[in-house]
Point group: C2
Chain length 197, copies 2
């Protein structure tokens, strides 16, 4: 029983890295066999289809990243500090990515939006959670008088996420961190400009 | 001779929409046969491989978008007006996209960065052209005294492109234009804040 759970977890972990680099459509069962070192039957013992594995791998990848964000935020007291800590996590991802292939949310959103409804739904859920986290931090900051009352939490969440994800795409395309660094520096100033009382 | 050129152009155009929605890896030869209404032989008469067609389709998609940007810019006199006209083109793309499936540069960059070197090179070239266009407009604006001398053209190009592309990804994921609208409004203010003398 425990052995089966371990094998399942290993398949998910290795498939997550594969999917995040090659895409879901670009990863064949042979590729999954190669990275896991398992036969086809050994994989299908645990997952009924490539799609079932894809959904589990996406959840795993998002959980890995989310943990680091939540941990970074937990250590901070003030709302703006929490948002800055979130930006800092992206900076760390450059040298030490939780999963190879860039941001799993960006990759999955772009691949699934027109083509894979089940994956798109998962990507929507992950994106909604991320927005809500930012919105909650800002709303709490307003209540506590740390953030100006005219701040627009939904807009700030959009600008933070859009700028970071777009810059990640550029840095990944050129294998050059300068795009992400410019975005993070810009967003640090943006947070102070938009939010500070 | 002319018939052959027409068929080739038709294949490129229809494949471009298919690839932009389903991805390159997610589009089979059968899918290409379906959208073009041609037999396999009819397609391979014009392209030696799916990759050759993919490169031609990407170039076509980028050219379609670029034309609209260049046309919008040409009508404007001042540097900031030109950059604002560029943002306006994105707004128009929402209701009237040049090609179905969202931004071909974003889609191709994300799919190719770890998996398809030839397509990644094309995406890099298109991204570099776009950055250079923005940088040239700003540099000329500085020379003419329309833009402050402390402006950083490379940084502004990164922030414009990253924010737009990230917001397009979000709007596409939710089929909701609000993300792109927030990004465009934010960037209009950003341009004035960063560039105006």
């Amino acid at each position: 029983m425990q052995k089966a759970a371990e094998t399942r977890a290993k398949i998910i972990q290795q498939a997550a890295g594969l999917f995040n680099q090659q895409g879901y459509a670009g990863s064949s069962i042979s590729d999954i066999m190669r990275v896991t070192g398992l036969q086809k039957g050994g994989i299908y013992n645990h997952f009924h289809s490539k799609e079932e594995l894809a959904l589990a791998a996406f959840d795993f990848a998002i959980q890995l990243s989310s943990q680091q964000f939540l941990q970074a935020i937990r250590g901070k007291r003030y709302a703006i500090e929490k948002l800055q800590a979130m930006l800092q996590v992206y900076q760390q991802f450059v040298d030490n990515p939780p999963i190879p292939g860039g941001c799993p949310l960006l990759n999955t959103a772009v691949e699934s939006d027109d083509a894979h409804p089940a994956l798109r739904d998962r990507a929507q859920q992950a994106m909604t959670s991320w927005q809500r986290l930012i919105i909650r931090i800002i709303a709490k900051g307003i209540t506590r008088g740390e953030i100006r009352v005219t701040a627009e939490p939904e807009t700030v969440a959009t600008i933070l996420i859009a700028t970071i994800e777009g810059a990640l795409m550029m840095s990944k395309l050129y294998s050059n961190t300068v795009y992400l660094e410019r975005a993070i520096e810009h967003l640090h100033r943006y947070l102070v400009q938009e939010l500070s009382v």
